[in-house]
Symmetry: C2
Subunit: 328 residues, 2 copies
DNA sequence: CTGAAAGCGCTAACAA
DNA sequence: TTGTTAGCGCTTTCAG
């Protein structure tokens, strides 16, 4: 038995090249000997790896695990693995991690860390690295992406509050250098106008991070400014969590004194006090769709970029109610 | 310039073998050319990989991200990476994932999926694969592990409830084929006796999974049996979450009608209604300690297994209060 | 359909 | 201190 023949017999793709009988004999013997192909040697020869890199800003954000699931569930059956890295929202770390993924011959990347201006991503595209963005996009629209339909989501949230009778709604705007922060902010302003609500710019508080602390800080700022408002749309659930901290701190009764809407509907958010009304993003589907897209791109050399917007639904819970005119 | 010399100059470990001046010249040129060593070729040659495998049952459990962080923070500076896999609590999947990690030449494993009887882990040990267990252990005590001091944690929880005046305390026992489930169960019984509390065996409900649904099912079972009890110690926070679902379902006022204690103090559990009293496990430290242990084991060929128990603290929140004699 | 031969990029042993 | 040589385990031409 000659190694080349064995190799052909063991690789499903080249199996047809070899006599059916020899093939099955090889497979049987390999089985008996407990032979395991060495993917490293294979990688070295073929410069492929059956692996894709997954670049996450922060795994401790409960948003990401379901996305990772979605990705793995699609990649696995296709014979691919995901190599996961955490950037901690640090551009240098991101650069070196992407480097290390590339030197390990990952065949493509799924990136959840996009900022609107993102030189690294432009470079990857220029160098022809197959990349799919998730959650956030860059200003450069040529990169394929799978994101939520943020604008519609915010519009739905505003409509919900308007229906309840709110007229002065505040917004905790996420970082404006991320597509999600910017799109949600703009959609918020647009939706206020569409509903003829007060679009007082002072009711928009900028957050520099997607974090609980920033959410708390921003809400305090609005309250301390003595502005009148009866509801808040937080740029995401973490910012909304910060609002809950302020409620506890200042004895604010939610939803009687103030309604809050979050964004993402992350796990466990339904167990808060009160359960948070939030715009649900189908995280698992974001992951599975992105993985499918990347596999397509890997298979078809002249695949062309698409951007998928996944639909959102507003999950109404107890953090929103009609405004309490006597208090606000 | 000869490739072997360049190789020696670029590898910090062999750098001393080469003339200082040539070395820095090589480094400079490599820099200018944007040379990136190919870790795959290196792996093939050296059969090392600077990588360890991390075997997690379910990444969507918020317990794990902080552990992963702890591991990466120790591994990174030592020049190692972690390759993370999800088993979904499926033994077959686990087997094939561990296989794939090994064929990728991981130098060691950190395993969070241990069951008391765990043939795969015994085999790994027999084959000399460097392995550190976290969270749970096997019956085979020879495997090094980093776990929480569960018994003391449960004793503290029982003491807390006893101090509040509870005398009939129920336990939602986690899967008895895991060390955590078994140890907590036994510690619970022991602690009841130490405090002279009623150790009615009917007050212990077995859960077959560490899940919210199982927690809910088990608590319903206890309530439906018409047993009298004023507090519950859940085997972990997910089981405790299930209790919250039953409270909502049946209009039970926690902590007035029933006190609950969780275990793990997982992220966001402090935001529940009411905030959950829980035994805090230092997850980050579990990860960092395990990573340090594994690095030690990799460096020192005749390293001997140790097991580390990390201390726990009870975090008192609003889910526990004195029993309400008139209702219970 | 199968065999022979070469080489992916790197490093370790040995020689100079 | 540097050069030479060989080979990690696999796949893929090319020839037979």
């Amino acid at each position: 038995m000659h190694p080349a023949t064995a190799s052909r017999a063991l690789n499903p793709a080249t199996r047809p090249l070899v006599n059916g009988e020899t093939a099955s004999r090889v497979v049987r013997v390999a089985e008996r000997l407990g032979y395991r192909p060495n993917p490293i040697a294979r990688s070295l020869k073929t410069s492929r790896s059956a692996t894709v890199g997954l670049v996450i800003p922060d795994l401790t954000n409960p948003l990401f695990p379901p996305i990772v699931r979605g990705i793995e569930d699609v990649l696995g059956p296709a014979g691919y693995n995901a190599w996961l890295v955490n950037t901690d929202n640090d551009a240098d770390r991101e650069e070196s991690l992407v480097d290390s993924l590339r030197s390990r011959q990952v065949e493509g990347l799924i990136v959840a860390t996009a900022r609107l201006q993102h030189p690294l991503l432009d470079r990857l595209q220029a160098e022809g690295v197959r990349t799919v963005l998730i959650n956030r996009r860059t200003a450069n629209a040529n990169l394929p992406s799978v994101t939520a339909d943020d604008a519609t989501g915010i519009a739905t949230a505003v409509a919900h509050l308007a229906d309840l009778g709110h007229r002065r709604i505040a917004h905790l705007a996420g970082p404006q250098n991320t597509s999600t922060g910017l799109v949600r902010h703009r959609a918020f302003v647009q939706a206020l106008r569409d509903h003829d609500l007060d679009d007082d710019p002072r009711l928009i508080a900028a957050c520099t991070l997607w974090s609980e602390d920033e959410g708390a800080r921003a809400l305090r700022e609005l309250l301390d400014a003595g502005l009148e408002f009866t509801a808040v749309i937080a740029g995401n659930d973490l910012l909304a969590l910060g609002c809950y901290d302020v409620f506890a701190e200042r004895g604010i009764d939610c939803p009687r004194d103030l309604s809050v809407v979050g964004f993402n509907d992350m796990p466990f958010i339904d167990k808060l006090r009160p359960p948070l009304t939030s715009v649900r993003v189908p995280h698992y589907e974001v992951g599975s769709e992105a993985a499918r897209m990347l596999l397509d791109a890997l298979q078809d050399p002249d695949w062309h970029a698409r951007s998928v917007l996944l639909p959102l639904t507003l999950i109404r819970r107890q953090s929103t109610a009609p405004p309490n005119r006597t208090v606000a």
